[in-house]
């Protein structure tokens, strides 16, 4: 693990709306995402966890503060450079609608490289495809795949271009528990075996337990952190949010 984090936010604030309707989604957040680690971001609805991920991934603009991926400050980039950075440095797995319906599974996996006009590393591609266990379904269209298979294709796509960091937004939110476990297991293996950096937003303590570090968010601020989580410990911590309501005290 090098000293430089894979991604970092400094004094990150995000305000939605104007005037009376103004909502402070992120309030001066500082966070480092360590390289080669599986980080989960948790929090109740409205805590700002999705906003934090979108800002870190360069999908949303920030109101103030800086966001770095590697040594690039995203807040200084124009759309074109940001697009290229997402294409080359970042992988995404969304909760649903991850795949282009007109492309086959394989075409979806290689999509970022096709967009960039680069050739995929065939050996690496084979490794990923075998790891997610999709070899027999490569020529199928998304509509011919199950929900779990679709998410595994999405994971394979995120990994295929060897991005510096992968962001996963509730990747198991739409799956039954068995399919969810398969996807999460696969994400964890990619960290353990390939040294991939992954940031996952979730509200499911069981999903969070696959990570190595959990960051808790409440009211747009980081309220707590946990290493090597288990489902029980995460659940305990989450219950305290419920008891404290939305006005959880923030540690100094």
């Amino acid at each position: 693990m090098t000293s430089q984090p894979a991604a970092r936010a400094l004094g990150l604030s995000k305000v939605y709306g104007e005037g009376e309707a103004q909502v402070l989604a992120l309030d001066n957040v500082d966070i480092d995402i360590e390289r080669g680690r599986f980080t989960a971001i948790m929090g109740p609805s409205g805590s700002g966890k999705s906003t934090l991920m979108h800002c870190l991934a360069g999908l949303d603009s920030v109101t103030s503060g800086t966001v770095m991926i590697g040594d690039v400050d995203l807040t200084t980039l124009k759309d074109k450079a940001l697009t290229a950075l997402r294409r080359d440095q970042v992988g995404f797995v969304f909760q649903s609608f991850n795949l282009i319906p007109t492309l086959t599974a394989l075409e979806n996996i290689t999509l970022p490289m096709d967009i960039a006009g680069t050739k995929p590393d065939q050996q690496w591609l084979d490794t990923i495809i075998d790891t997610v266990g999709l070899r027999s379904r490569l020529s199928h269209k998304p509509s011919e795949l199950s929900g779990g298979q679709q998410q595994r294709v999405a994971c394979a796509r995120a990994l295929a271009s060897r991005p510096a960091i992968i962001f996963a937004d509730e990747p198991t939110g739409n799956l039954d528990s068995r399919s969810g476990a398969e996807v999460l297991g696969f994400l964890r293996r990619s960290v353990d075996e390939f040294g991939q950096t992954i940031v996952m937003v979730t509200h499911d303590p069981n999903a969070a337990s696959y990570s190595q570090r959990v960051v808790f968010l409440a009211d747009g601020r980081i309220s707590d952190e946990m290493s090597d989580p288990t489902p029980e410990r995460v659940l305990d911590r989450m219950k305290r949010f419920d008891i404290e309501g939305l006005s959880a005290p923030t540690p100094a």
Binding site: R86, V90, G91, I100, T102
Partner: protein, 849 residues
């Protein structure tokens, strides 16, 4: 529910504008056609009314179709009638008048004024006597004074302006007998109530006009002004007993209604002709409207299901969509009528550019126009909305809310019907030429039904065609953008087919017309090669007759072996109705033209004999030896048939020798001179000699064979461009359909586009993908349209083979241009939806539910 429908309508302004626009364009074409012909009608009516004296005494032949009155000797009435008529009770005054067509006013370069406007009678003016009594003269002098004496004339203000002359200037006029005379411009005239035709009018005083064109005691007509309060018919009946045979008296009302009838049939044809194009546009627009409503309903399936789930009945859902359609149709149709006014102005400009001498006039809105336009807009919109609405209302609420995609009904029935229509159409198309061999009209009818069957069949089958066609077209594009674009076109083949189908119709018609025109051009050139043995052809500009002196000048030119003049006179004959009889020198014409004469011989053509073309002879059951009675300007004449010949291009109908045509009323004017040079002189020398000989006659043109073919070819080309201009609107509506489909598709694919942006596709990449998609749709539509259109063109050529279009030809360059334009149009249509798609906010797109 109505409130929900209206709110929904306004919630999606963009869809509203796009769908509305297609209705507006289609309705504008229909309304514009009516407004145009009504306005033309109204302005002509005003001219007719104001031009009529109470009673007019005129030659009986004046009721010949005005199309043919330009040829032939001027029919006259004796001026000795004037004092007799003025003696009658109730007559205020009787004024003799002279009207002469075919005057040529020369400009400062010595060229005929208005010659460059080509087309219909370009380059000639109408000469008349100046009527000094204002009550009988709708024209007034606005500058200078009326013409007086043998060396003065007056000119209409538009022509004076064009010539750049003012009263006092000198003007040169070429008279019908070929004399060139200078006159002083006394004054400039304008017609009361403004608008006149785009025709030059020249006025002399009566004595000068009589001296120039007629003999003493002759006039073209006598206009009678009645005392106030007297009855036109009584005056007419009082005048009639005074008149010699061949001269009649008609009241102003009779005259007006007679002219009016002639106008009605002409305008009726024009109206029908334009409405055919309007129907094409409507058909295309119906496609677009139907397509849009299908997509709107598909997008709103969940919303409609929610309405059903909370208790709306099927009927209510149906009525809600129909209410939307009705409101949209009414608003768009109203706008369409307004746009129709602009379209009518455009038509006026188009016709004027094509050389039609129509008066520009203010626009007339008949209640009928508004009713028809509104009904058309309403019916098309409601029917187009009804089918998707029915589909939407049968969706089970739960099914619709569960998943976003609702499977479209299977297309088996549509495919079967399409296959049946296509097969039947092709079968009829194969039969049509055989039917046409016996009866062209029946053949054309069969071909029309065949064409409709094939076109509708192809449109019905095109969802099946869309898949292989788009795969083939997408081979043009490599990379992920092309793959995504072609995938998108196959996602909903029915939608792709319907979008492309609108373009298919337009391109199909344009291709068919193009093929027919190319075939006509080639066939005409072939006929010229086969028939015209002459080395040169001399014609008047705008095909106006020219002085007989031209023929003499040509004959006197060195190196000319023979000059065959063609002289014409109007007449009414069995089998042809009002027509022009042709007079030739039977010996000389056979040197200039290769005529096939299966029965009898042109050599037998003598006094009161006639040769008849085979088609006319067959239609009236005449043959060599039969006698035919025709009505000439001079009265009925019996002609004996001595030859039956094969029609050769423009050389058809009744043919007599020169003395007979003069008896039938031809003036000393010719319409064509065919020139045969002798073998000893070079073509260049003869041409140079002819050019010198023709110098005094700037209103004729000397053409060698290839130039003659080019002239005919240019005229066909001009007509072609006019038809294309009318079809452009249908193509524009089709392109608008592509804009519409893409814009709605972009809206449907918001999340997909967001995903593509998230995983790294640039804005440019998104735009490129959508532009390629449009290109594929447009190219698919255009290629299918072209294939069907060329087949139609070939079929039409076969049907019309007997009518002289014997050869099939394709203007490949023009067809290629259509394809390129369609593809470019498709790409242009994509620009705006593509721009919108590229500006979608990524997060908004991903977060969209």
């Amino acid at each position: 529910m109505l409130k929900a429908a209206l709110r929904n309508l306004f919630a999606h302004k963009l869809r509203l504008v796009l769908t509305g626009l297609s209705i507006v364009l289609a309705v504008a074409f229909v309304a514009g056609t009516y407004i145009f012909t009504d306005s033309l009608r109204a302005s002509l009516d005003t001219l007719i009314q104001q031009d009529q004296p109470d009673v007019s005494v005129q030659p009986a032949s004046a009721d010949f179709s005005p199309d043919f009155q330009g040829a032939g000797k001027l029919p006259t009435v004796p001026t000795t009638l004037v004092p007799e008529i003025e003696d009658l009770d109730g007559v205020t005054m009787a004024v003799p008048a002279i009207v002469v067509p075919n005057i040529v006013v020369l400009d400062k370069q010595g060229l005929p004024l208005g010659q460059e406007s080509d087309g219909f009678g370009g380059g000639t003016a109408i000469g008349s006597s100046w009527v000094t009594e204002p009550a009988l003269n709708p024209t007034e002098v606005v500058e200078g004074s009326p013409p007086v004496g043998a060396d003065q004339l007056a000119l209409d203000s538009a022509s004076a302006e064009q010539l750049g002359v003012v009263p006092g200037d000198e003007i040169t006029v070429l008279l019908p007998d070929g004399d060139r005379t200078d006159f002083e411009l006394s004054g400039v005239t304008e017609t009361q109530n403004g608008s006149g035709f785009a025709i030059t009018f020249v006025y002399w005083d009566f004595a000068t006009a009589q001296d120039l064109f007629l003999t003493a005691d002759q006039a073209s007509s006598i206009s009678v002004l009645a005392d106030p309060g007297s009855v036109q018919t009584q005056i007419r009946d009082a005048i009639s007993p005074l008149l010699p045979t061949g001269v009649v008296a008609v009241t102003g009302e009779e005259q007006a209604s007679q002219v009016s009838e002639q106008l009605d049939s002409g305008l009726g044809f024009l109206n029908t002709f334009l409405l055919v194009f309007a129907i094409v546009s409507l058909f295309v627009a119906a496609f677009l409207i139907y397509n849009t409503f299908s997509m709107l309903v598909a997008q709103r399936t969940r919303e409609l299901a929610l309405l059903r789930a909370i208790g709306a009945s099927r009927g209510q859902v149906l009525r809600s969509i129909l209410a939307e359609a009705v409101v949209l149709a009414l608003v768009a149709s109203a706008l369409g009528i307004a746009a129709g006014a602009g379209f009518a102005k455009g038509l006026q400009a188009l016709f004027q550019a094509a050389g039609a001498p129509f008066p520009a006039s203010s626009l007339v809105f008949e209640p009928r126009t508004i009713v028809v336009a509104m009904l058309v807009g309403l019916v098309i919109t409601v029917v187009s909305a009804l089918l998707p609405a029915r589909r939407a209302s049968v969706i089970a609420p739960v099914a619709a809310m569960r998943e976003e995609s609702v499977a479209a009904g299977s297309g088996h029935r549509r495919t079967a019907i399409g296959g049946f229509l296509l097969g039947g159409g092709i079968g009829l198309a194969v039969m049509a030429p055989r039917v046409a061999a016996n009866d062209t009209m029946q053949g054309a009818l069969v071909a029309g039904v065949a064409a409709a069957g094939v076109l509708i069949g192809v449109l019905a089958l095109s969802p099946e065609l869309a898949r292989p066609a788009t795969v083939a077209l997408s081979a043009l594009f490599r990379g992920v953008n092309g793959r995504l674009a072609s995938g998108n076109t196959r996602r909903n083949p029915r939608r792709t087919a319907a979008t492309a189908g609108a373009l298919t119709i337009g391109v199909c018609l344009m291709s068919a017309i193009s093929v027919l025109a190319a075939s006509t051009q080639k066939s005409v050139a072939g006929i010229v090669d086969d028939v015209i043995g002459a080395d040169f052809v001399i014609t008047g500009y705008g095909f106006q007759p020219f002085p007989g002196a031209v023929g003499e000048a040509v004959r006197a030119t060195e190196g000319v072996q023979a000059a065959a003049v063609v002289r014409q006179a109007p007449m009414r004959a069995p089998g042809t109705g009002d027509t022009l009889a042709t007079g030739v020198d039977p010996t000389v014409i056979q040197q200039a033209l290769s005529l096939t004469v299966p029965e009898g011989s042109f050599d037998d053509l003598g006094e009161d004999d006639v040769a008849v073309d085979r088609d006319t002879a067959d239609s009236i059951g005449a043959g060599v030896g039969s006698t035919i009675q025709v009505l000439s300007v001079a009265g009925p004449v019996d002609l004996q048939v001595v030859a039956v010949y094969e029609p050769a291009g423009g050389f058809t109908g009744y043919v007599t020798d020169l003395p007979t045509i003069a008896r039938l009323g031809a003036a000393d004017q010719d319409s064509v001179v065919y020139v045969v040079k002798d073998a000893a002189t070079s073509a260049e020398d003869v041409q140079a000699g002819l050019e010198r000989a023709l110098e005094p006659y700037p209103n004729v043109q000397l053409l060698d064979q290839s130039a003659f073919k080019q002239t005919i070819s240019d005229q066909i080309g001009q007509l072609l461009n006019f038809l294309f201009a009318l079809l452009v609107l249908a193509v524009l509506i089709a392109l608008l359909g592509i804009v519409n489909t893409l814009a709605l598709s972009v809206f449907e694919r918001t999340r997909e586009i967001g995903l593509l942006r998230a995983v790294g596709m640039s804005r440019r990449g998104i735009r490129r993908t959508i532009v390629i998609e449009a290109f594929i749709i447009a190219a698919f539509g255009a290629v299918v349209g072209m294939i069907v259109g060329v087949a139609f063109g070939a079929l039409l050529q076969r049907i019309l083979a007997d009518q002289g279009i014997e050869q099939f030809a394709v203007n490949a360059g023009q067809l290629a241009l259509f394809l390129v334009l369609a593809a470019v149009g498709g790409v242009l249509a994509a620009l705006w939806p593509a721009w919108r798609a590229s500006r979608l906010r990524i997060l908004g797109a991903i977060a969209a539910e």
